[in-house]
């Protein structure tokens, strides 16, 4: 059952790293209760999972998790969150993911006993439902395996259940390349939200059955694809900023069907979701530069209850293995935030984070606390997903226009032209979702299996 938010939980003044409206307490770890904690992530070095004995793969995970926990202990860090992001073969083969989960949970338990290191384990199966073209989002073996993966990992010792679900991506991949706002809305809030509702009801059920926490999702495949392409100069940054705003409508669905946070690190839309839901969020910024460059290295810190490195291969840097280096950087970042908060000056540091980035890039600009509040309000002002999408897109464009005219935001001439173009497009969007869907659906019929979104093939 989906319960739609119609008001904000946290306004701009209340939005702060380490502080959620509804903190999460589990296993001795408190998230959003005043302190920011590191969330450490990692992936395997170049190797073939198919051609490597399971024992060797497990040894690699043992090595990584042991090393990062050792470093955390060494630095006096008392609580950490570890994410195990399942690779495709580990999701397709649920017992494989289960066995690695159990291994990691075991190591974390050891560190709890022997060193007093409190920890939670987040598991993130990969969304294997796209393996077919067009993707089969509901029927078919992949959906079954995906849920089985959640179930097994949950029973094997996971605490937090997450996914980077890809519903709607078959449309947004194209729409991003074409800077097509309508396509973004169709893929993200029409298809994406429908898929989120379907998928997250199932994940919430697994969590209930297994006593774990349905944590949250991210529109990574949409928002971060746009961000990375904008960073490479392929698409306008103002467009990527609007895409980010729209993704919040999609990711929000998880919380409306029962997810409890912390939201998944790579969803920068988490800032907006934190304002709406008050739930704790994981964020990533400069110390996730190993995984991707970004224009929001500092400003992302404003909202972090967990502070993440997103992903790094287990390869050797001069100081040690890369995940250990990440752990060190995260711990120092967290210490700084926690010192400021401890002196009652968290909001001051938050404002510096914001000022650091907001004027230089539209994607950062819409993540300033004031902008976040405005975007969140736009979303909760509507109940229908499509109308939320339109409202937040319009608001994002308005904010950018205002920032530009007040000279709070620097934009190149080309970016300004695109802002005008997008402004024009959003102003002409139909107010009613049925009309919009009728217009868009035929355009994407070769890429989308509408039945898999619960949408009839023809109206």
């Amino acid at each position: 059952m989906r319960k739609r938010f119609n008001s904000l939980t946290l306004g701009a003044d209340a939005l702060l790293f380490g502080v959620a409206g509804t903190p999460l307490r589990r296993n001795g770890v408190l998230i959003g209760g005043g302190k920011v904690l590191p969330e450490i992530k990692f992936t395997l070095p170049p190797m073939s999972i198919e051609d490597t004995p399971a024992m060797e793969i497990e040894a690699m995970y043992r090595e990584i998790v042991t090393a990062v926990c050792e470093r955390a202990v060494h630095l006096g860090q008392q609580s950490v969150v570890v994410e195990f992001e399942l690779l495709p073969p580990m999701t397709v083969d649920p017992p494989m993911g289960e066995s690695i989960t159990s291994l990691i949970a075991g190591i974390l338990a050891e560190f709890r006993t022997s060193h007093g290191l409190q920890s939670l384990l987040r598991i993130t199966p990969v969304d294997i439902r796209e393996q077919n073209k067009p993707p089969q989002r509901r029927r078919g073996r992949e959906t079954e395996l995906l849920l089985e993966s959640f179930r097994r990992c949950a029973r094997a010792g996971a605490d937090l259940l997450s996914i980077e679900s890809t519903g709607g991506k078959e449309v947004t991949d194209q729409a991003i390349m074409a800077a097509d706002v309508r396509g973004i809305l169709f893929g993200t809030v029409v298809l994406g939200c429908a898929d989120m509702e379907f998928l997250w009801e199932k994940i919430v059920r697994v969590a209930r059955e297994t006593g774990t926490v349905p944590a949250g999702d991210t529109a990574c495949g949409i928002g971060n694809t746009a961000m990375v392409l904008a960073d490479q100069g392929y698409i306008p940054r103002v467009f990527a900023a609007v895409v980010r705003a729209v993704t919040a409508v999609r990711s929000l669905v998880a919380y409306e069907v029962g997810a409890a946070g912390p939201g998944k690190d790579c969803g920068y839309e988490n800032a907006i979701l934190k304002a709406i839901t008050g739930l704790p969020m994981s964020m990533e910024g400069k110390s996730a530069a190993c995984a991707h460059l970004s224009p929001v290295g500092n400003i992302a810190g404003c909202y972090a209850d967990l502070w993440s490195n997103e992903s790094v291969q287990n390869i050797k840097l001069l100081a040690g293995m890369a995940p250990v280096v990440s752990m060190e950087q995260l711990v120092y970042d967290c210490r700084l935030m926690n010192v400021a908060a401890g002196r009652g000056e968290g909001r001051r540091l938050r404002d510096w984070f914001s000022e650091s980035d907001a004027g230089l890039d539209p994607q950062a600009f819409i993540l300033s606390p004031r902008a976040v509040e405005a975007l969140a309000r736009a979303i909760v002002s509507e109940q229908d997903d499509y109308r939320r999408g339109v409202a937040v897109a319009v608001k994002a464009v308005d904010l950018l226009r205002e920032g530009l005219s007040k000279q709070h935001l620097l934009l190149s001439e080309r970016e300004q032209e695109w802002l005008t173009r997008i402004e024009h497009t959003v102003s002409e969007l139909p107010s009613d979702s049925m009309g919009f869907i009728a217009e868009e659906r035929p355009k994407w019929k070769d890429h989308v299996n509408y039945g898999e979104y619960g949408i009839p093939d023809d109206v």
Binding site: T43, L44, P45, P46, M47, S48, I49, E50, D51, L87, P88, P89, E130, Q131, K133, D173, I176, M177, A178, A179, D180, T225, L229, Q232, G233, Y234, I235, P236, Q313, R414, W418
Partner: protein
């Protein structure tokens, strides 16, 4: 402005309808199809590709241009085929086994097509056999592989080894790319080229074909 320059200009502007009409007119006037292609369509696209590469143009703008080029191509292609004109080159593309990442490869396909190459896109999660089959069937000049995961990039080497085993390696150049891939890795596995992004992929392919 001559016909060719006119075509090139319409392509550059991304005006599909005008480009189509100008090509039609040029062909009607007896302009050779090959010159229409090279001096008109491709010339126009080349300007755009250069601007894109140097960051003066966005991809959606390039896509509009590609559309204009395609409109002209539809008229020129049958004539070229009839005249047994050799295409600029053919490229087979795919994301390797176990990897569902699509968009980087698609960008490369767009840029290559814009530059006048024939592109055969095998999609994602492409297994060794599928690469081999396509190479045997299509006789491409270049095969391009993409990988976004550290745990799938290793399959690039498998494909190259398979090419060697089938005595196909000498007949096709191999380029690779994707987030975890470095120049160094490319040369370690014996690829001929490394494309750090879609914009440079065209240059890499051109260089490889010129060096033959």
């Amino acid at each position: 402005m001559d016909r060719y320059a006119e075509i090139a200009q319409h392509v550059q502007n991304g005006y599909s309808e005008r480009a189509r009409k100008a090509v039609e007119a040029a062909l009607a006037e007896g302009c050779p199809a090959e010159r229409v292609l090279k001096e008109g369509l491709i010339a126009g696209m080349e300007v755009v590709a250069a601007k894109f590469k140097s960051g003066q143009m966005f991809l959606p703008e390039v896509l509009a241009v590609a559309g204009a080029m395609k409109a002209g191509m539809e008229l020129v292609k049958p004539l070229l085929v009839a005249a047994r004109h050799e295409p600029l080159g053919k490229v087979v593309l795919g994301t390797v086994r176990g990897d569902m990442h699509d968009i980087g490869k698609n960008l490369v396909a767009i840029m290559l097509q814009g530059a006048g190459f024939d592109v055969v896109d095998l999609g994602t999660d492409v297994r060794v056999e599928k690469f081999i089959d396509a190479i045997e069937r299509e006789h491409p000049d270049v095969v391009g592989m993409s990988a976004l995961l550290t745990t799938t990039m290793v399959h690039m080497k498998t494909v190259i080894e398979a090419l060697k085993q089938r005595d196909l390696r000498a007949h096709v150049k191999v380029i690779v790319g994707g987030a975890p891939i470095s120049k160094n890795f490319a040369s370690e596995i014996g690829a001929d080229g490394y494309a750090r992004d879609a914009a440079t992929a065209v240059d890499v392919v051109k260089e490889l074909l010129n060096s033959r």
